[in-house]
């Protein structure tokens, strides 16, 4: 824990404590696995079809092989995460091979992330289009399609699946563009729910397939030998004019393996969720990795095998190549209506998981570009926050524009997208593998776990396992360069373009940052600290914490200063620097956390404090979730109140509800505090956060007293206290609420309070109404309820 001591000669400058550890809400390994699987398992919907088009009917064996190999790639990621808490590609490559190759690896990773969106969107569109056409065909078979529709389509009604896929992918990408621009909050709860629904589908799929195999039998899958491989011109790429003897040996197997690697895309997400894993971190990381690897093997591997075993050759590739699991549903044993219903379920699950992957790709790309931008390799212009929502909308716009271009250029062709996608996947893994190998000799720091086996010869450790995984990755990546011509051209062009942008930006920024750093040092003195502690800021308990984000809306800070006697209470101005999913993989330096934006923000905050004539302390904390960061900071600083401006996206009640939830989720011991939301009209809303004595209405106090008077006249109750009556009443209330009277109680409470909004917010988010304690985040600005708020405010 290092705190730089202030230089007395620079004491005129404003001190800012910059916390360097991100404030996180820790998650279980099940949730971590669910987040990764939302990305990784989505490839099950398209990987099998793409691989079979490229290599022929024996493709499922290669998919299974890739899924087994993914166990070893996962081991490499576990080792990197045991060395660096944020052990993603950029961090590891930069540590091992330097900034230039780190930029190159991030360019490949960006290609992977950006392609994830289009391939997921187009694939989901193919599943939907396929289902609509199947339903239309079924209706037509029964003569339920009107003749006018026949005339309109010139025969049986049929939608162009590729066009529909493009339209669908554009629409969903547009939707998530807007959601990300607004700054949606990603929850692991949603990922867990999606994976629960997916698991139901996988269990049904495997169970029903087993019954079908017993009842109907199966088609054998040719063994993955060179003579069973059937490449076409597209799958041989630049080698299409070469002699067949080249690709009929082991090289043929390597080509086929290369065409199947996209099945393990998403492993990088494991490094990104590692930071948020609960204690014991390494053990939970291993558990999450095991769950991910087994789930992917069962879902992606087995569904590919079953597709070839159960779907007839005549229709599998011609009709179901882009929606293989839907095809599998249609060739189960049982009545057609049931099969169609199951196919609809497959499409719903595909829609959920693939749409989620589009969102993940935007969030991940935004996170990675934010981080490289903060590292000075992308111009600050990209990170300028949205005027209303505070998000890095320019990066989001850039990512989405690239994705929309890719979707339109693909014309709904999943195969082309899949081929290109594999480029980013394999090269980011290869860079990671090489870096980990180099770090075995270069990095002497703590390492929680090593990929086995490791031989020791004359005192030197030879990382046999790590070297083996790297050899496979490198051989596959190099082979793919020759066999995937579209991917090579697109991937190299894309990565080179990003690399040039990064390099030029870095040069420009170096000059600019040198000047900015000089100016900053003249005005601010940055004190680095691992954690937020009251003593480090030199403030007293019971202080006022003011949260700031947008330098255009600081009226609440002025209000807080005008209403606080700073001789009695210190005022701490806090800015939470949000590190999004994808960014958590990388370390934050002080300069990264305290950027140009924070400099402008705090300059304005200091200007307001000077105009009011009061002293403020400044604090920057990196965080994954702003609400959790506020609660943890208020707790660490022993703040009596938190003052925030009114959000542009939610009401003050919703703000207090989210803060209350974060308070509940924070591990104890915890302190209660008051939240005051100050809107522009300065009509302050006050809420108490955490359990506290409720402010009782005078009629309730009177009723309690009357009851006490009556009850103390009863036999053996002369010692009864007022609080005994409340205890009995609340115990009965809790019992009734847990029993049959729940609905009645809720109805009466809604009528009583008129706060239907709160109930709808809770229901919408899927949180049981019984979970939040009734007093958490309660609005307390009713004049009948007596004084509220901390002293001095």
């Amino acid at each position: 824990m290092a705190t730089n001591q202030p230089d007395p000669s620079l004491s005129h400058r404003v001190r800012i404590v910059v916390a360097t550890s991100i404030m996180l809400t820790f998650i279980s390994y099940w949730r971590a696995a669910a987040i990764v699987l939302n990305d990784l398992a989505s490839s099950a919907f398209y990987a099998g079809g793409i691989a079979e088009q490229a290599v022929g009917k024996s493709a499922p064996w290669f998919i299974v092989g890739v899924m087994l190999f993914s166990f070893t790639v996962r081991a490499v990621y576990v080792e990197s995460c045991s060395m660096f808490v944020r052990g993603g590609v950029y961090r590891v490559v930069k540590e091992a091979l330097g900034g230039t190759l780190a930029k190159l690896s991030v360019s490949a990773l960006m290609f992977d992330y950006i392609l994830t969106g289009p391939i997921s969107g187009v694939s989901a569109g193919q599943y939907i289009g396929g289902l609509i056409n199947e339903v239309l065909a079924t209706l037509d078979t029964h003569g339920w399609i009107p003749g006018a529709l026949h005339d309109l389509f010139g025969g049986r009604p049929h939608l162009n699946e590729n066009a529909l896929s493009v339209a669908f992918a554009v629409a969903v990408t547009g939707y998530y563009w807007w959601e990300n621009t607004k700054g949606i909050h990603e929850s692991s709860e949603k990922s867990l729910r999606v994976m629960q629904i997916t698991t139901v589908m996988v269990v049904l799929l495997l169970g029903w397939s087993a019954i079908t195999l017993l009842k109907v039998g199966y088609q054998p899958i040719p063994w993955p030998t060179p003579q069973n491989l059937h490449f076409n011109a597209a799958s041989l790429g630049f080698l299409k004019h070469s002699h067949p003897s080249h690709w009929l040996g082991l090289f043929g197997v390597l080509i086929a393996f290369g065409h199947s690697v996209l099945a393990m895309s998403g492993e990088e997400s494991l490094a990104q969720v590692n930071r948020e894993l609960a204690h014991p971190k390494l053990k939970n990381l291993k558990r999450a990795a095991i769950v991910i690897a087994i789930y992917s093997l069962v879902f992606t591997g087995f569904s590919s095998l079953l597709s070839v075993m159960l779907i007839p050759d005549s229709v599998r590739v011609p009709i179901y190549k882009d929606n293989l699991i839907a095809g599998l549903a249609m060739y189960m044993w049982g009545p057609q209506l049931l099969r169609l219903a199951f196919r609809a379920f497959v499409v719903v699950v595909g829609f959920l998981i693939l749409s989620g992957a589009i969102n993940t790709s935007i969030i991940g790309s935004n996170g990675v570009l934010n981080r490289v931008s903060e590292d000075g390799v992308l111009a600050d212009w990209f990170r300028l926050p949205h005027r209303k929502y505070g998000t890095t909308y320019r990066i989001i716009n850039l990512v989405v524009l690239l994705q929309l271009f890719t979707i339109l250029a693909s014309r709904g062709n999943v195969y082309v997208l899949g081929e290109a996608y594999a480029f980013g996947v394999i090269w980011s893994f290869t860079f990671n593998g090489l870096s980990m190998l180099v770090l075995r000799f270069k990095y002497k720091g703590e390492r929680g776990w090593k990929v086995p086996p490791n031989l020791r010869i004359f005192g030197t450790e030879i990382p046999l396992g790590l070297a083996s995984v790297f050899l496979v990755l490198l051989a596959t990546a190099v082979t793919n360069l020759f066999t995937k011509s579209v991917a090579t051209v697109a991937g190299v062009a894309f990565s080179a373009a990003f690399f040039v942008i990064f390099s030029v930006s870095e040069r420009v920024n170096l000059k600019k940052h040198a000047l900015a750093e000089k100016q900053m040092k003249e005005h601010f003195q940055l004190l680095e600290s691992d954690t937020v502690e009251r003593t480090k800021l030199g403030i007293r308990p019971g202080n006022v914490l003011v949260t700031v984000r947008d330098y255009n809306t600081l009226s609440h800070l002025r209000w807080a200063l005008e209403h606080t006697d700073t001789r009695e209470q210190d005022v701490v101005v806090m800015s939470a620097r949000i590190s999004q999913f994808g960014a958590a993989a990388y370390d934050l330096s002080t300069e990264q956390i305290f950027s140009d934006y924070e400099q402008t923000l705090f300059t304005r905050a200091v200007s307001i404090a000077e105009s009011v004539g009061k002293h403020i302390s400044l604090l920057v904390v990196p965080a994954r979730d702003v609400w959790s960061a506020i609660v943890q900071t208020a707790n660490n600083l022993e703040s009596s109140s938190v003052i925030a401006g009114l959000s542009s996206k939610m009401t003050s009640e919703e703000q207090s509800m989210l803060l209350g939830r974060a308070w509940e989720a924070t591990a104890g011991p915890k302190r209660q505090f008051v939240l005051q939301v100050v809107p522009p009209d300065l009509q302050v809303h006050t809420f108490k956060i955490g359990p506290h004595t409720p402010a009782m209405k005078s009629e309730d106090v009177l009723l309690t007293h009357r009851l006490w008077l009556t009850l103390t006249r009863e036999k053996e109750l002369h010692n009864l206290h007022h609080h005994d009556i409340l205890t009995e009443a609340l115990t009965r209330f809790a019992r009734d609420y847990a029993g049959h009277d729940r609905d009645d109680i809720l109805r009466e409470l809604r009528t009583l309070t008129g706060k239907k909004l709160r109930a709808s917010v809770l229901s919408r988010d899927g949180v049981p109404l019984a979970t939040p304690p009734p007093e958490t985040g309660r609005r307390d600005d009713d004049p009948d309820r007596g004084p509220s708020g901390p002293p001095g405010i």
Binding site: L250, P453, V478
Partner: protein, 51 residues
Amino acid sequence: MHALADFGIRVLETMFFLGMVGSTLVLVLTAIEDVETLMDSKDEASEPPPG
């Protein structure tokens, strides 16, 4: 040119073959560790598995 291509292919095949043999070892050894990790219920999260 043809000889160079042949040489390159042989190199890639050798890398792939050796890598696959080693990766199989990694797979077996990590699987043994995985079983131990899964059997060790100490510090197990209280949250139920999905599904």
